[in-house]
Amino acid sequence: MTFPLVIFLYGYFAFLVFWAILSLVGFYHLVRFGGRMFVSFFVGFLYVIGTIFLLYVSYLYLATIDWQVQVSIFQNLGNLKNVFESPTVFN
């Protein structure tokens, strides 16, 4: 059974849409009920900075992958044996 690797990426984008909606709902609460309190401003600022960092690091790693590759799941399952038989730190 083969499938394009990019399917994982589509799933990831779907998650990002869901995540972005929840983030916007959070920001709506912060702006509406937090008003101009310093603590609200700080929480919002921290979230934006952390989000930019996480998305940028994710992009850096995910950009190195060739998403057009077709993978065969059953063929690759045989390779799992090699993974578990590979030399480890315990050898």
Partner: protein
Amino acid sequence: MFSTYHLSDALPEEKIITVIHRDIFIAIKRIVFFVLLLALPIVLIYMLRLLFPNLIEIAWAWPLLLILASSYLLFIWLLFFFSLLDYSLDVWIVTDIRIVDVRQDGLFSRSIAEVRLDKIQDISSQANGFFQTFLKYGNVIVQTASERNVLIFEEVDNPENIRDILVKLVDKEHVEHVTHNK
């Protein structure tokens, strides 16, 4: 640029005496907890690569691992945001007329209650356990004669000080009430 708090339904000549959040230790506790959760996938990926160096050779394993790690980190970061949102939006506003108790419970639950100072019957403070005693935070319990019998300032900094402020305000309110009725 910033104000401490704005009461949208402020009464004429009502003065905000103090605005109280939960103690900063509660926020620090949440930050430490989420930092540990955020560090978890980094440690796990490092250990997986150390134990199974050939894992990266499987076409789908490494991309899947990266996507799962990124999704996990973003999800935990979102939960951390909600947790801090909850912390920052839970607030008790003490004015010279009333106490307003604003609670944010999750994203879709928010409650606002108020007790007038002339309805307050008893005020007590409590600090339970090692951390609350050592770091001087705890609860202030306000008994009232209104529909809502008890109002609790939860995990606030220096509860004795808050109790003193409230006692003085309530005493002043009672004196004014008696003078006004004569």
